[in-house]
Amino acid sequence: MNSVIDSMMKIFGSLGTGNSALGLVLAVVIAGLVVFTIMAVMAIVAVYFERKVSAFMQDRIGPMEVGIFGFKGGKQFWGGIGQTLADTVKLLVKEDILPKEADKKLMIMAPFIIFIASFLTFIGVPLSDGLVVSDFNIGVFYIMAAGSIGVIGIILAGWSSNNKWSLYGALRSAAQIISYEIPIGLSLMLVVIVVGSLNFGDIVAWQADHRWFFIHSPFAFIAFIIYVIAGVAETNRTPFDIPEAESELVAGWMTEYSGFRWSIFFMSEYANVLIISIIASIIFLGGWLSPLAIFGVHVSWLEGPLWGLFWIFSKAVFFVFVMMWFRWTFPRLRVDQLMYFCWKVLIPFALANLIFISVWELIF
Protein backbone atom coordinates (compact mmCIF):
# COMPACT_ATOMS: atom_id res chain seq x y z
CA MET A 1 0.00 0.00 0.00
CA ASN A 2 1.81 3.04 -1.24
CA SER A 3 -0.63 5.68 -2.35
CA VAL A 4 -0.81 9.44 -2.39
CA ILE A 5 -3.58 9.52 0.19
CA ASP A 6 -1.56 7.33 2.56
CA SER A 7 1.56 9.44 2.25
CA MET A 8 -0.41 12.64 2.65
CA MET A 9 -2.00 11.31 5.79
CA LYS A 10 1.43 10.35 7.08
CA ILE A 11 2.62 13.91 6.45
CA PHE A 12 -0.41 15.40 8.19
CA GLY A 13 0.12 12.99 11.06
CA SER A 14 3.76 14.06 11.45
CA LEU A 15 2.70 17.69 11.47
CA GLY A 16 1.02 16.84 14.73
CA THR A 17 -2.56 17.69 13.97
CA GLY A 18 -3.30 14.59 15.96
CA ASN A 19 -6.70 14.40 14.35
CA SER A 20 -6.60 11.62 11.82
CA ALA A 21 -10.14 12.36 10.60
CA LEU A 22 -9.21 15.91 9.68
CA GLY A 23 -6.06 14.65 7.97
CA LEU A 24 -8.06 12.17 5.94
CA VAL A 25 -10.61 14.75 4.83
CA LEU A 26 -7.83 17.18 3.91
CA ALA A 27 -5.93 14.50 1.99
CA VAL A 28 -9.05 13.41 0.13
CA VAL A 29 -9.96 16.99 -0.82
CA ILE A 30 -6.45 17.77 -2.05
CA ALA A 31 -6.21 14.54 -4.02
CA GLY A 32 -9.65 15.19 -5.54
CA LEU A 33 -8.68 18.68 -6.61
CA VAL A 34 -5.48 17.40 -8.17
CA VAL A 35 -7.33 14.72 -10.13
CA PHE A 36 -9.89 17.26 -11.24
CA THR A 37 -7.15 19.61 -12.41
CA ILE A 38 -5.45 16.83 -14.34
CA MET A 39 -8.73 15.97 -16.03
CA ALA A 40 -9.48 19.58 -16.95
CA VAL A 41 -5.99 20.35 -18.20
CA MET A 42 -5.92 17.08 -20.10
CA ALA A 43 -9.17 17.97 -21.83
CA ILE A 44 -7.89 21.39 -22.85
CA VAL A 45 -4.55 20.09 -24.10
CA ALA A 46 -6.12 17.10 -25.84
CA VAL A 47 -8.61 19.24 -27.73
CA TYR A 48 -5.80 21.42 -29.04
CA PHE A 49 -3.74 18.35 -29.90
CA GLU A 50 -6.69 16.73 -31.62
CA ARG A 51 -7.46 19.79 -33.69
CA LYS A 52 -3.87 20.09 -34.79
CA VAL A 53 -3.46 16.40 -35.60
CA SER A 54 -6.71 16.30 -37.53
CA ALA A 55 -5.69 19.42 -39.41
CA PHE A 56 -2.32 17.99 -40.35
CA MET A 57 -3.85 14.76 -41.54
CA GLN A 58 -6.24 16.72 -43.72
CA ASP A 59 -3.59 19.06 -45.13
CA ARG A 60 -4.81 21.97 -43.07
CA ILE A 61 -3.06 23.84 -40.27
CA GLY A 62 -5.74 24.17 -37.60
CA PRO A 63 -6.03 27.04 -35.15
CA MET A 64 -3.28 29.63 -35.59
CA GLU A 65 -4.52 32.91 -34.21
CA VAL A 66 -5.18 32.77 -30.48
CA GLY A 67 -2.24 32.99 -28.13
CA ILE A 68 -1.71 33.27 -24.40
CA PHE A 69 -0.50 36.73 -23.42
CA GLY A 70 0.43 37.37 -27.00
CA PHE A 71 2.44 34.17 -27.31
CA LYS A 72 0.93 32.14 -30.09
CA GLY A 73 3.28 29.19 -30.15
CA GLY A 74 5.16 28.06 -33.19
CA LYS A 75 5.11 30.22 -36.23
CA GLN A 76 4.61 27.79 -39.03
CA PHE A 77 2.38 25.01 -37.76
CA TRP A 78 1.97 24.72 -34.00
CA GLY A 79 0.43 28.14 -33.47
CA GLY A 80 -2.73 29.13 -31.71
CA ILE A 81 -2.02 27.46 -28.38
CA GLY A 82 -4.56 29.63 -26.61
CA GLN A 83 -7.43 28.47 -28.78
CA THR A 84 -8.89 25.81 -26.49
CA LEU A 85 -8.45 28.02 -23.45
CA ALA A 86 -10.54 30.66 -25.15
CA ASP A 87 -13.04 28.00 -26.21
CA THR A 88 -13.29 26.77 -22.64
CA VAL A 89 -14.04 30.25 -21.36
CA LYS A 90 -16.62 30.64 -24.09
CA LEU A 91 -18.18 27.31 -23.18
CA LEU A 92 -18.39 28.13 -19.49
CA VAL A 93 -20.09 31.48 -19.97
CA LYS A 94 -22.55 30.09 -22.47
CA GLU A 95 -26.23 30.01 -21.66
CA ASP A 96 -27.23 26.76 -20.04
CA ILE A 97 -30.34 25.52 -21.77
CA LEU A 98 -32.74 22.94 -20.40
CA PRO A 99 -35.54 22.04 -22.82
CA LYS A 100 -39.02 22.73 -21.56
CA GLU A 101 -40.30 19.19 -22.00
CA ALA A 102 -37.18 17.54 -20.63
CA ASP A 103 -36.96 15.79 -17.31
CA LYS A 104 -34.94 18.52 -15.65
CA LYS A 105 -33.81 16.71 -12.49
CA LEU A 106 -32.36 13.76 -14.39
CA MET A 107 -30.97 16.00 -17.07
CA ILE A 108 -29.01 17.96 -14.50
CA MET A 109 -27.88 14.80 -12.75
CA ALA A 110 -26.72 12.86 -15.81
CA PRO A 111 -23.47 14.75 -16.56
CA PHE A 112 -22.40 14.39 -12.97
CA ILE A 113 -22.88 10.63 -13.01
CA ILE A 114 -20.71 10.42 -16.10
CA PHE A 115 -18.16 12.68 -14.51
CA ILE A 116 -18.17 10.65 -11.29
CA ALA A 117 -17.48 7.52 -13.34
CA SER A 118 -14.36 9.02 -14.93
CA PHE A 119 -13.33 10.54 -11.64
CA LEU A 120 -13.65 7.28 -9.72
CA THR A 121 -11.71 5.50 -12.44
CA PHE A 122 -8.95 8.07 -12.31
CA ILE A 123 -8.53 7.48 -8.60
CA GLY A 124 -7.30 3.94 -9.22
CA VAL A 125 -4.99 4.78 -12.10
CA PRO A 126 -1.33 5.00 -11.12
CA LEU A 127 0.61 7.78 -12.81
CA SER A 128 3.98 6.54 -11.68
CA ASP A 129 5.60 4.19 -9.18
CA GLY A 130 3.60 4.87 -6.03
CA LEU A 131 1.93 7.90 -7.53
CA VAL A 132 -1.67 6.78 -7.29
CA VAL A 133 -4.47 8.38 -5.35
CA SER A 134 -5.57 5.07 -3.90
CA ASP A 135 -3.73 1.84 -4.53
CA PHE A 136 -6.26 -0.98 -4.88
CA ASN A 137 -5.46 -4.65 -4.61
CA ILE A 138 -8.02 -5.24 -7.29
CA GLY A 139 -6.78 -2.34 -9.44
CA VAL A 140 -7.62 -3.72 -12.88
CA PHE A 141 -11.02 -5.00 -11.78
CA TYR A 142 -11.81 -1.76 -9.97
CA ILE A 143 -11.15 0.28 -13.09
CA MET A 144 -13.37 -1.98 -15.16
CA ALA A 145 -16.13 -1.64 -12.56
CA ALA A 146 -15.86 2.11 -12.06
CA GLY A 147 -15.73 2.66 -15.79
CA SER A 148 -19.03 0.85 -16.25
CA ILE A 149 -20.92 3.40 -14.16
CA GLY A 150 -20.72 5.95 -16.95
CA VAL A 151 -23.28 4.06 -19.03
CA ILE A 152 -26.01 4.95 -16.54
CA GLY A 153 -25.24 8.62 -16.99
CA ILE A 154 -25.37 8.28 -20.75
CA ILE A 155 -28.72 6.50 -20.65
CA LEU A 156 -30.15 9.09 -18.27
CA ALA A 157 -28.85 11.95 -20.38
CA GLY A 158 -30.36 10.47 -23.50
CA TRP A 159 -33.72 9.68 -21.95
CA SER A 160 -34.17 12.87 -19.95
CA SER A 161 -33.48 15.12 -22.92
CA ASN A 162 -36.80 14.00 -24.40
CA ASN A 163 -35.34 14.05 -27.86
CA LYS A 164 -35.28 11.19 -30.30
CA TRP A 165 -31.68 11.76 -31.32
CA SER A 166 -30.60 11.75 -27.72
CA LEU A 167 -32.51 8.58 -26.97
CA TYR A 168 -31.16 6.69 -29.96
CA GLY A 169 -27.68 7.92 -29.17
CA ALA A 170 -28.01 6.75 -25.60
CA LEU A 171 -29.30 3.33 -26.62
CA ARG A 172 -26.54 2.84 -29.11
CA SER A 173 -23.93 4.08 -26.69
CA ALA A 174 -25.11 1.80 -23.90
CA ALA A 175 -25.24 -1.22 -26.17
CA GLN A 176 -21.80 -0.42 -27.51
CA ILE A 177 -20.12 0.21 -24.19
CA ILE A 178 -21.57 -2.89 -22.57
CA SER A 179 -20.55 -5.03 -25.53
CA TYR A 180 -17.03 -3.69 -25.80
CA GLU A 181 -16.41 -4.04 -22.08
CA ILE A 182 -16.25 -7.79 -22.67
CA PRO A 183 -13.24 -7.89 -25.04
CA ILE A 184 -11.51 -5.32 -22.83
CA GLY A 185 -12.07 -7.46 -19.77
CA LEU A 186 -11.00 -10.64 -21.55
CA SER A 187 -7.80 -9.13 -22.90
CA LEU A 188 -6.90 -7.68 -19.50
CA MET A 189 -7.62 -11.09 -18.00
CA LEU A 190 -4.64 -12.42 -19.98
CA VAL A 191 -2.30 -10.27 -17.93
CA VAL A 192 -3.99 -11.29 -14.72
CA ILE A 193 -3.51 -14.96 -15.59
CA VAL A 194 0.18 -14.46 -16.35
CA VAL A 195 1.03 -12.18 -13.45
CA GLY A 196 -1.38 -13.64 -10.91
CA SER A 197 -2.38 -10.27 -9.50
CA LEU A 198 -4.88 -7.51 -10.20
CA ASN A 199 -2.66 -4.83 -8.76
CA PHE A 200 -1.04 -2.40 -11.23
CA GLY A 201 2.14 -2.24 -9.18
CA ASP A 202 2.54 -6.02 -9.33
CA ILE A 203 1.85 -6.05 -13.06
CA VAL A 204 4.57 -3.47 -13.77
CA ALA A 205 6.95 -5.21 -11.39
CA TRP A 206 6.42 -8.44 -13.31
CA GLN A 207 7.17 -6.64 -16.58
CA ALA A 208 10.33 -5.19 -15.06
CA ASP A 209 11.46 -8.68 -14.07
CA HIS A 210 10.49 -10.45 -17.27
CA ARG A 211 9.57 -8.46 -20.38
CA TRP A 212 6.99 -5.99 -21.50
CA PHE A 213 3.69 -7.65 -21.90
CA PHE A 214 2.95 -6.93 -25.53
CA ILE A 215 6.02 -8.97 -26.53
CA HIS A 216 5.36 -11.62 -23.92
CA SER A 217 3.79 -14.00 -26.43
CA PRO A 218 1.90 -13.78 -29.73
CA PHE A 219 -1.34 -14.09 -27.80
CA ALA A 220 -0.44 -11.19 -25.59
CA PHE A 221 0.21 -9.13 -28.70
CA ILE A 222 -3.21 -10.04 -30.10
CA ALA A 223 -4.73 -9.13 -26.75
CA PHE A 224 -2.94 -5.81 -26.96
CA ILE A 225 -4.48 -5.07 -30.35
CA ILE A 226 -7.91 -6.17 -29.15
CA TYR A 227 -7.56 -3.92 -26.13
CA VAL A 228 -6.64 -0.87 -28.22
CA ILE A 229 -9.52 -1.41 -30.65
CA ALA A 230 -12.06 -2.06 -27.92
CA GLY A 231 -10.68 0.87 -25.95
CA VAL A 232 -11.37 3.19 -28.85
CA ALA A 233 -14.90 1.82 -29.00
CA GLU A 234 -15.29 2.20 -25.24
CA THR A 235 -14.58 5.93 -25.48
CA ASN A 236 -17.10 6.34 -28.30
CA ARG A 237 -14.52 7.67 -30.70
CA THR A 238 -14.45 7.32 -34.46
CA PRO A 239 -14.71 4.81 -36.14
CA PHE A 240 -16.94 3.60 -33.33
CA ASP A 241 -18.76 6.86 -32.75
CA ILE A 242 -22.22 5.81 -33.86
CA PRO A 243 -23.72 7.03 -30.54
CA GLU A 244 -22.95 10.58 -31.59
CA ALA A 245 -22.82 10.15 -35.33
CA GLU A 246 -23.20 13.72 -36.52
CA SER A 247 -24.74 12.88 -39.84
CA GLU A 248 -27.58 10.85 -38.39
CA LEU A 249 -27.98 11.72 -34.72
CA VAL A 250 -26.84 15.36 -34.55
CA ALA A 251 -24.74 14.81 -31.42
CA GLY A 252 -26.31 11.69 -29.96
CA TRP A 253 -27.08 11.81 -26.27
CA MET A 254 -25.38 15.23 -25.96
CA THR A 255 -27.73 16.93 -28.40
CA GLU A 256 -29.73 18.92 -25.88
CA TYR A 257 -26.81 19.85 -23.66
CA SER A 258 -24.95 23.12 -23.78
CA GLY A 259 -22.59 25.26 -21.80
CA PHE A 260 -21.21 23.97 -18.55
CA ARG A 261 -22.97 20.61 -18.54
CA TRP A 262 -21.78 19.88 -22.03
CA SER A 263 -18.24 20.80 -21.04
CA ILE A 264 -18.48 18.20 -18.25
CA PHE A 265 -19.35 15.57 -20.86
CA PHE A 266 -16.45 16.75 -22.90
CA MET A 267 -14.04 16.65 -20.00
CA SER A 268 -15.12 13.14 -19.01
CA GLU A 269 -14.76 11.95 -22.57
CA TYR A 270 -11.18 13.13 -22.81
CA ALA A 271 -10.46 11.83 -19.30
CA ASN A 272 -11.68 8.43 -20.49
CA VAL A 273 -9.36 8.64 -23.48
CA LEU A 274 -6.47 9.37 -21.16
CA ILE A 275 -7.46 6.58 -18.78
CA ILE A 276 -7.68 4.02 -21.57
CA SER A 277 -4.30 5.17 -22.87
CA ILE A 278 -2.62 5.08 -19.48
CA ILE A 279 -3.96 1.62 -18.73
CA ALA A 280 -2.81 0.38 -22.12
CA SER A 281 0.67 1.72 -21.41
CA ILE A 282 0.75 0.27 -17.91
CA ILE A 283 -0.50 -3.18 -18.79
CA PHE A 284 1.08 -3.75 -22.18
CA LEU A 285 3.94 -1.26 -22.46
CA GLY A 286 5.62 -1.49 -19.11
CA GLY A 287 4.02 1.52 -17.44
CA TRP A 288 6.60 3.69 -15.76
CA LEU A 289 9.58 1.63 -16.95
CA SER A 290 11.94 3.37 -19.30
CA PRO A 291 11.84 2.08 -22.90
CA LEU A 292 15.52 1.13 -22.63
CA ALA A 293 14.47 -1.67 -20.30
CA ILE A 294 13.15 -3.52 -23.36
CA PHE A 295 16.73 -4.06 -24.47
CA GLY A 296 17.82 -4.97 -20.99
CA VAL A 297 19.62 -1.67 -20.52
CA HIS A 298 19.04 -0.18 -17.11
CA VAL A 299 20.09 3.42 -16.64
CA SER A 300 19.61 4.29 -13.02
CA TRP A 301 19.07 8.01 -13.53
CA LEU A 302 16.27 7.34 -16.00
CA GLU A 303 14.23 5.66 -13.31
CA GLY A 304 12.42 6.92 -10.25
CA PRO A 305 8.94 8.37 -9.78
CA LEU A 306 9.40 11.57 -11.79
CA TRP A 307 10.92 9.81 -14.77
CA GLY A 308 8.16 7.22 -14.37
CA LEU A 309 5.62 10.02 -14.73
CA PHE A 310 7.40 11.16 -17.87
CA TRP A 311 7.55 7.68 -19.41
CA ILE A 312 3.96 6.84 -18.61
CA PHE A 313 2.74 10.10 -20.08
CA SER A 314 4.81 9.78 -23.22
CA LYS A 315 3.38 6.32 -23.75
CA ALA A 316 -0.12 7.57 -23.03
CA VAL A 317 0.31 10.48 -25.42
CA PHE A 318 1.40 8.00 -28.05
CA PHE A 319 -1.84 6.08 -27.53
CA VAL A 320 -3.87 9.27 -27.61
CA PHE A 321 -2.18 10.08 -30.90
CA VAL A 322 -3.01 6.61 -32.20
CA MET A 323 -6.65 7.14 -31.29
CA MET A 324 -6.67 10.44 -33.16
CA TRP A 325 -4.90 8.75 -36.01
CA PHE A 326 -7.68 6.15 -36.14
CA ARG A 327 -10.27 8.87 -35.98
CA TRP A 328 -9.01 10.70 -39.04
CA THR A 329 -8.39 7.53 -41.04
CA PHE A 330 -11.43 5.31 -40.81
CA PRO A 331 -15.04 5.93 -41.68
CA ARG A 332 -17.73 5.27 -39.12
CA LEU A 333 -19.03 1.71 -38.73
CA ARG A 334 -22.68 0.81 -39.13
CA VAL A 335 -24.53 -0.40 -36.03
CA ASP A 336 -24.74 -3.99 -37.21
CA GLN A 337 -21.10 -3.94 -38.29
CA LEU A 338 -20.18 -2.64 -34.88
CA MET A 339 -22.00 -5.48 -33.11
CA TYR A 340 -20.67 -8.04 -35.59
CA PHE A 341 -17.15 -6.82 -35.02
CA CYS A 342 -17.47 -7.04 -31.26
CA TRP A 343 -19.37 -10.28 -30.83
CA LYS A 344 -18.11 -12.28 -33.77
CA VAL A 345 -14.54 -11.10 -34.14
CA LEU A 346 -13.13 -9.58 -30.98
CA ILE A 347 -14.79 -11.78 -28.37
CA PRO A 348 -14.00 -15.15 -30.06
CA PHE A 349 -10.42 -14.08 -30.53
CA ALA A 350 -10.17 -12.85 -26.95
CA LEU A 351 -11.62 -16.11 -25.63
CA ALA A 352 -9.31 -18.22 -27.77
CA ASN A 353 -6.45 -16.04 -26.57
CA LEU A 354 -7.40 -16.78 -22.99
CA ILE A 355 -7.25 -20.51 -23.57
CA PHE A 356 -4.01 -20.34 -25.50
CA ILE A 357 -2.26 -18.17 -22.94
CA SER A 358 -3.23 -20.64 -20.22
CA VAL A 359 -1.65 -23.43 -22.23
CA TRP A 360 1.36 -21.23 -22.93
CA GLU A 361 1.79 -20.58 -19.22
CA LEU A 362 1.54 -24.29 -18.48
CA ILE A 363 4.20 -25.14 -21.07
CA PHE A 364 6.71 -22.38 -20.38
Binding site: I138, A145, L156
Partner: protein, 161 residues
Protein backbone atom coordinates in the same frame (compact mmCIF):
# COMPACT_ATOMS: atom_id res chain seq x y z
CA UNK B 1 -14.26 8.55 11.24
CA UNK B 2 -15.21 5.16 9.87
CA UNK B 3 -18.47 5.27 11.78
CA UNK B 4 -19.41 8.60 10.27
CA UNK B 5 -18.71 7.30 6.77
CA UNK B 6 -20.67 4.13 7.51
CA UNK B 7 -23.67 6.09 8.74
CA UNK B 8 -23.64 8.34 5.68
CA UNK B 9 -23.46 5.41 3.28
CA UNK B 10 -26.09 3.42 5.14
CA UNK B 11 -28.37 6.45 5.19
CA UNK B 12 -27.95 6.95 1.45
CA UNK B 13 -28.71 3.28 0.85
CA UNK B 14 -31.83 3.27 3.00
CA UNK B 15 -33.15 6.60 1.77
CA UNK B 16 -32.76 5.69 -1.87
CA UNK B 17 -34.30 2.28 -1.19
CA UNK B 18 -37.38 3.98 0.26
CA UNK B 19 -37.45 6.25 -2.75
CA UNK B 20 -37.37 3.22 -5.05
CA UNK B 21 -40.42 1.81 -3.35
CA UNK B 22 -42.51 4.91 -2.87
CA UNK B 23 -41.72 7.03 -5.92
CA UNK B 24 -44.54 7.14 -8.43
CA UNK B 25 -42.21 7.91 -11.29
CA UNK B 26 -40.80 4.66 -12.58
CA UNK B 27 -37.70 6.28 -14.03
CA UNK B 28 -36.89 7.98 -10.74
CA UNK B 29 -37.26 4.65 -8.99
CA UNK B 30 -34.75 3.20 -11.40
CA UNK B 31 -32.30 6.00 -10.75
CA UNK B 32 -32.78 5.67 -7.00
CA UNK B 33 -32.00 1.99 -7.34
CA UNK B 34 -28.66 3.03 -8.80
CA UNK B 35 -27.82 4.80 -5.55
CA UNK B 36 -29.06 1.88 -3.48
CA UNK B 37 -26.85 -0.58 -5.31
CA UNK B 38 -23.95 1.83 -5.05
CA UNK B 39 -24.52 2.19 -1.32
CA UNK B 40 -24.55 -1.58 -0.90
CA UNK B 41 -21.19 -1.69 -2.68
CA UNK B 42 -19.98 0.87 -0.14
CA UNK B 43 -21.18 -1.36 2.71
CA UNK B 44 -19.19 -4.26 1.26
CA UNK B 45 -16.08 -2.10 1.42
CA UNK B 46 -16.62 -1.77 5.18
CA UNK B 47 -16.50 -5.54 5.39
CA UNK B 48 -13.08 -5.58 3.67
CA UNK B 49 -14.79 -7.25 0.73
CA UNK B 50 -13.21 -5.11 -1.98
CA UNK B 51 -13.63 -7.68 -4.73
CA UNK B 52 -17.27 -8.15 -3.87
CA UNK B 53 -17.81 -4.38 -3.87
CA UNK B 54 -16.27 -4.03 -7.31
CA UNK B 55 -18.34 -6.98 -8.55
CA UNK B 56 -21.47 -5.37 -7.12
CA UNK B 57 -20.76 -2.20 -9.11
CA UNK B 58 -19.75 -4.06 -12.24
CA UNK B 59 -22.65 -6.50 -12.32
CA UNK B 60 -25.49 -4.59 -10.72
CA UNK B 61 -24.69 -0.99 -11.57
CA UNK B 62 -22.99 -1.56 -14.90
CA UNK B 63 -25.18 -4.47 -16.03
CA UNK B 64 -28.48 -5.02 -14.25
CA UNK B 65 -29.20 -1.32 -13.81
CA UNK B 66 -28.65 -0.69 -17.49
CA UNK B 67 -30.98 -3.55 -18.26
CA UNK B 68 -33.65 -2.17 -15.94
CA UNK B 69 -33.40 1.32 -17.39
CA UNK B 70 -33.56 -0.14 -20.90
CA UNK B 71 -36.62 -2.05 -19.91
CA UNK B 72 -38.37 0.99 -18.47
CA UNK B 73 -37.49 3.11 -21.46
CA UNK B 74 -38.45 0.63 -24.14
CA UNK B 75 -41.61 -0.87 -22.71
CA UNK B 76 -43.28 2.50 -22.37
CA UNK B 77 -43.77 5.20 -24.88
CA UNK B 78 -40.21 6.27 -25.46
CA UNK B 79 -40.81 9.94 -25.93
CA UNK B 80 -42.96 10.25 -22.86
CA UNK B 81 -41.42 11.44 -19.62
CA UNK B 82 -44.60 10.46 -17.84
CA UNK B 83 -43.82 6.96 -16.61
CA UNK B 84 -45.95 6.13 -13.59
CA UNK B 85 -46.16 3.19 -11.35
CA UNK B 86 -49.59 2.65 -9.89
CA UNK B 87 -48.58 1.10 -6.55
CA UNK B 88 -51.64 -1.10 -6.58
CA UNK B 89 -52.14 -3.82 -4.00
CA UNK B 90 -50.33 -1.99 -1.28
CA UNK B 91 -51.76 -4.11 1.42
CA UNK B 92 -50.56 -7.41 -0.01
CA UNK B 93 -47.16 -5.96 -0.83
CA UNK B 94 -46.81 -4.49 2.63
CA UNK B 95 -47.81 -7.77 4.22
CA UNK B 96 -45.30 -9.84 2.25
CA UNK B 97 -42.58 -7.30 2.89
CA UNK B 98 -43.34 -7.38 6.59
CA UNK B 99 -43.19 -11.18 6.63
CA UNK B 100 -39.89 -11.08 4.78
CA UNK B 101 -38.58 -8.52 7.25
CA UNK B 102 -39.59 -10.74 10.18
CA UNK B 103 -37.85 -13.70 8.57
CA UNK B 104 -34.63 -11.84 8.00
CA UNK B 105 -34.65 -10.39 11.50
CA UNK B 106 -35.21 -13.82 12.94
CA UNK B 107 -32.23 -15.13 11.00
CA UNK B 108 -30.10 -12.18 12.03
CA UNK B 109 -30.94 -12.59 15.68
CA UNK B 110 -30.53 -16.36 15.84
CA UNK B 111 -27.31 -16.65 13.83
CA UNK B 112 -24.08 -17.18 15.72
CA UNK B 113 -22.04 -14.23 14.31
CA UNK B 114 -18.30 -14.47 14.26
CA UNK B 115 -17.11 -11.83 16.71
CA UNK B 116 -13.69 -10.49 17.37
CA UNK B 117 -11.36 -7.91 15.92
CA UNK B 118 -11.65 -7.56 12.13
CA UNK B 119 -9.11 -9.56 10.25
CA UNK B 120 -7.28 -7.61 7.58
CA UNK B 121 -6.80 -9.63 4.43
CA UNK B 122 -4.13 -8.44 2.06
CA UNK B 123 -5.89 -9.79 -0.98
CA UNK B 124 -9.25 -11.46 -1.14
CA UNK B 125 -9.20 -12.35 -4.79
CA UNK B 126 -7.02 -15.45 -4.63
CA UNK B 127 -8.98 -16.86 -1.69
CA UNK B 128 -12.29 -16.22 -3.40
CA UNK B 129 -11.14 -17.91 -6.58
CA UNK B 130 -9.91 -20.93 -4.69
CA UNK B 131 -13.14 -21.27 -2.76
CA UNK B 132 -15.31 -20.95 -5.85
CA UNK B 133 -13.36 -23.52 -7.80
CA UNK B 134 -12.82 -26.03 -4.96
CA UNK B 135 -15.25 -25.71 -2.09
CA UNK B 136 -18.27 -24.32 -3.94
CA UNK B 137 -17.66 -25.74 -7.40
CA UNK B 138 -21.10 -27.34 -7.71
CA UNK B 139 -23.21 -24.21 -7.01
CA UNK B 140 -20.86 -22.25 -9.27
CA UNK B 141 -21.32 -24.67 -12.14
CA UNK B 142 -25.07 -24.87 -11.60
CA UNK B 143 -25.30 -21.10 -11.73
CA UNK B 144 -23.26 -20.96 -14.91
CA UNK B 145 -25.39 -23.63 -16.59
CA UNK B 146 -28.51 -21.71 -15.59
CA UNK B 147 -27.12 -18.51 -17.08
CA UNK B 148 -26.06 -20.30 -20.26
CA UNK B 149 -29.55 -21.79 -20.63
CA UNK B 150 -31.06 -18.31 -20.13
CA UNK B 151 -28.70 -16.89 -22.75
CA UNK B 152 -29.57 -19.55 -25.32
CA UNK B 153 -33.26 -19.18 -24.53
CA UNK B 154 -33.11 -15.41 -25.02
CA UNK B 155 -31.29 -15.82 -28.33
CA UNK B 156 -33.86 -18.36 -29.46
CA UNK B 157 -36.82 -16.20 -28.48
CA UNK B 158 -35.52 -13.06 -30.14
CA UNK B 159 -34.65 -14.84 -33.38
CA UNK B 160 -36.78 -14.13 -36.39
CA UNK B 161 -38.83 -17.06 -37.46
Amino acid sequence: MAEVAFIIIAAITLASAFFVVFSSNLMYSGVALFFTLFGVAGLYVFLYADFLAATQIMVYVGGIMVLILFGIMLTNKIASTDLRQANRGRFMAGLSAFILFLLISAIAVTTQWHTGSPQFLDTTVAKLGMMILYQYLLPFEVASILLLAALIGAALLSRKK
